[in-house]
């Protein structure tokens, strides 16, 4: 009788453990795949810009980088993918107190990553763009990288001044 009770309790405990293991596995799967979005397209974008002088001309040198930090391939859609330059809206007199600079509409836009259809997981892609600046405007520029993949849209921006 005692042996039968014991085996019954062992069986019950085993069933409970199995149910808990299945529930734990389901929760892990839910967190990992759905909440963790590891199979969603994910890109890390960055842009570095500097103004260089060569033979009396000013050039804006931009280095754009993307890295696929997800686990699925991310396709790059050329429509909407670009390096966009905005110039600072220069007001006549200097302001009397610190005020945020306003940016004009895009003054230029350049195609980037046009030779790449997609980015494999963990793959980094870097491109450099050299842009000749107009003479002596001494403006600040906002350099923005936008990358589009289907319904997803990533941006990175930096500000550089032509001194």
């Amino acid at each position: 009788m005692l042996a039968s009770d014991f085996s019954h309790w062992v069986e019950t405990a085993k069933n409970v453990c199995e149910i808990l293991a299945i529930l734990g596995g389901a929760a892990w799967t839910y967190l990992n795949y759905f909440r963790g979005r590891i199979y969603k397209p994910r890109l890390e974008c960055s842009v570095e810009a500097s103004v260089e002088q060569h033979s009396g001309h000013s050039f804006l040198k931009a280095v754009v980088r993307i890295r696929n930090i997800g686990l699925s391939k991310v396709s790059i859609q050329q429509r909407g993918t670009a390096l966009v330059i905005h110039s600072a809206n220069k007001q006549g007199d200097p302001p009397l107190f610190p005020s945020e600079v306003r940016w004009n509409d895009p003054v230029a836009a350049f195609e980037v990553f046009s030779g790449n259809n997609g980015v494999e997981p963990s793959e980094p892609i870097t491109e450099s763009v050299m842009i000749a600046l107009p003479y002596g405007n001494g403006l600040a520029y906002r350099v923005t990288l936008t990358v589009v993949s289907g319904e997803f849209w990533w941006t990175a921006a930096t500000i550089v001044a032509d001194t």
């Binding site: 909407g80 509409d105 895009p106 836009a109 350049f110 936008t146 849209w153």
Partner: protein, 54 residues
Amino acid sequence: MATNTRDVAQKAARWTQDQIDAVERAKEQQRRREQDMNQQREANSQNRQAENRR
């Protein structure tokens, strides 16, 4: 609640589309400007050659 979520998603999609359109307009404008600049350079070069010949 579901309607709200749908509205937000629609607004986000519209915003993304507007941004993409703005970028494409800027790219097109840039292409046209570069084309004009190249044509201008070509015309200047031809004028100079004609001057030199004279």
